[in-house]
Symmetry: C2
Subunit: 298 residues, 2 copies
Amino acid sequence: MPPQKLSARDDLEALVARYDTFLFDCDGVIWHGSTLVPHVQAALAMLRQRGKRLVFVTNNSATSRRDYAKKFAALGIDAAVDEIFSSAYATAAYLAEVARFPSDKLAYVIGGSGIRSELRDVGIASVGEDDTAPVSLPTLAEIEPNPAVGAVVFGIDYDITYRKLANAHLNIVHNPGCLFIATNDDRTLPGGKYVYPGTGAMLSSLVHSTQRTPLVMGKPNKPMLDCVMQNYHLDPATTCMVGDRLDTDILFGINGGLATLCVLTGVASEADILDPAAPQPTYYIDSLGDLATLAESA
Amino acid sequence: MPPQKLSARDDLEALVARYDTFLFDCDGVIWHGSTLVPHVQAALAMLRQRGKRLVFVTNNSATSRRDYAKKFAALGIDAAVDEIFSSAYATAAYLAEVARFPSDKLAYVIGGSGIRSELRDVGIASVGEDDTAPVSLPTLAEIEPNPAVGAVVFGIDYDITYRKLANAHLNIVHNPGCLFIATNDDRTLPGGKYVYPGTGAMLSSLVHSTQRTPLVMGKPNKPMLDCVMQNYHLDPATTCMVGDRLDTDILFGINGGLATLCVLTGVASEADILDPAAPQPTYYIDSLGDLATLAESA
């Protein structure tokens, strides 16, 4: 079925009536960088007023959920820490609950403080942060696998070093049963005027050197959605994923059997959505802010 | 034709008589790290005495040919700088002679001093060495393409940083006609007891983020062999490539239509050589040192 454009008030009312839970991508949907998309505050408030559950789902692994909640607060949006689901949190939850990571093992982390903090919150100690000392060929052999490492966790790391990659490589290859998990595999990362190498690009080094395939948590991959659905006890039939990218957000919803709503305030254009070769959202809308009209007349 | 094992004196004499030029891989053939393979000194001296041309062909891009010549001297082997052909030198020669790199353009180099020094010797200035300052998401947008960069050159870089990768990415994507050249694409790098991520693994990040395919100079790729053949005016019919790895050295020779001799002092075992699915050398021999027997009775 081709995507249905929602603009008439009745269509918007029907959408809100049909779903109990809305999962939101943030950048391009709620905000652009540090600027709110117009009327989004009112739209979200209206959904809350009608008793909907809201979950903010982000591939961002660099910051912890607590720091992410501060961003919402600073922009004047009401969002509790436990309504935020980041790929770093999903990774920690997966290790603790699904993989039942042994308490005497360590995670070797390439990534930011967000991952380390989420791991700490579930009782997993991480190493690797200090592996920034220079390396040279004659001293390469001093880098050895650490048998206490039971998982290599990979996220975006602006302080990546050859020493970190070498350690991660050796742990994956030489530690029997060592898990290899990536928070997400976004090829690029928007940074204003340009896009920059993303987690997926950096991860390629380790995939190529180890010839192992990591479990990738983040959108559009299923592990994070499984975590979200289980964590909030959601029913796919009454859950709608809202996003601005067809190849991550919308595909993520489709992969989980959810209804999907694509907004036109971010990456996807109407032409992209109408291309039948692309992942097809159930609905699309000019802006999440359009839902605010339902509030104004309430 | 299956590989022919050379052990009888007559076989060795025939080999030496048939070829005018011998191209040698170094590690695993001439030495292991800093230890000479037994009798190699005498074998090479015998070849020189019989008027053979010797060329040492290495994927190593981290050191300059001058520094590499010092290693030969330190091990008591006679080798002139112009008998050494490294992937860094091949890269510089390719840029200067084949690509006719404009003198007002810069090369953005991810790699060691070997590459920078070889580029300098052909009159090409390089940048990127100092791009080691920390990066954070809020300041990412400060990293911009440099329009003066006409080539991104990638080799092993133990001081790799996200900033370097971001700069290389932006130059490749945004500078029209920017060349993208890798010295080699070895997946791993031997470093004693373990193997570590090699140039090819590190390169994957940039290939994945830019979605561009670099020109790879080093073994087993043809560009370096083309440079070698042209540089020394060699005749493929009378040139033999000697190496210890089927998938790099021997394939390199085969790709160039050369005879190949695999030694058993490095990576390949006799079983590997006799596997018809692997690249098949023309000849194999226990050790390059075996040729020394021809000298002893001379």
